[in-house]
């Protein structure tokens, strides 16, 4: 299973974004590094969900925001390694709609938010043949203590 490292502070911010936009889906960009078998989130960019017609169970990000996130990553010497979004009152696993709209390679973090409380958070990558997702292990790095724990 591939591994996605994230500092605890960033993990908390993703969860807080999900709680803040509840009952609507939140979304944002993951900027980081992608080495041999080790992917790490260095910064997140919270973005606005553009699906005003159905924000409780859909999200979309404007191409301008996608491009700006890519430019920000390049300027920082990072890569745009993926995206996060929330599933209000739904499990933290990709839906068929998620699969249809996803790209291989990116990490897709999904945080479940139940009655405004962020719960389970998982990450997934779409297979190259687009047929299925593979789970990605999230490793939370609690920098203050130097300890690592699995989400």
């Amino acid at each position: 299973m591939s591994v996605l490292r994230i500092r605890e502070e960033l993990s908390v911010r993703i969860r807080a974004h999900g709680a803040e936009t509840y009952p609507h889906e939140c979304c944002g960009a993951l900027l980081g590094t992608d080495g041999d078998g080790a992917r790490e989130i260095v910064e997140i960019v919270p973005l606005t969900n553009q699906r005003n017609d159905s924000p409780r169970n859909r999200f979309s990000i404007t191409p301008e925001d996608v491009r700006d996130a890519d430019v920000a990553a390049r300027k920082a010497g990072l890569d745009l390694i993926g995206w996060y979004h929330s599933h209000p009152d739904a499990p933290a696993r990709p839906s068929e709609f998620d699969r249809e709209h996803a790209w291989p390679w990116y990490s897709y973090i999904i945080v479940s938010v139940q009655e405004r409380v962020p719960r389970e958070m998982n990450s997934w990558r779409l297979a190259d043949d687009r047929g299925h997702y593979d789970a990605e292990e999230i490793v939370i790095d609690a920098r203050a203590s130097g300890a690592k724990s699995t989400a």
Partner: protein, 94 residues
Amino acid sequence: MAIKVMIPTPLRAYTEKKDSVELQAGTVGEALTALTSQFSELRKHLYADDGRLRSFVNVYLNDEDIRYLQKDKTQVSDGDTISIVPSIAGGARE
């Protein structure tokens, strides 16, 4: 015209890990043709079977979406940047 094409991270597997490619072209269409000639595996990820750009692929010339310019016939100038921008969307329930 010498232009640069910015490659998004999911497609760098098909451009020998290059994050940008510099090439010569007179229009956006010529630039993308030159790009996919150089990196043939990229073609199926940018174009559908009918030869049109995939609906989940956006192409920008500098700060403008080419759909609002002259699409693939949009003229380019020396130093221009073309960005291939994936559409990002999803959602919880079917």
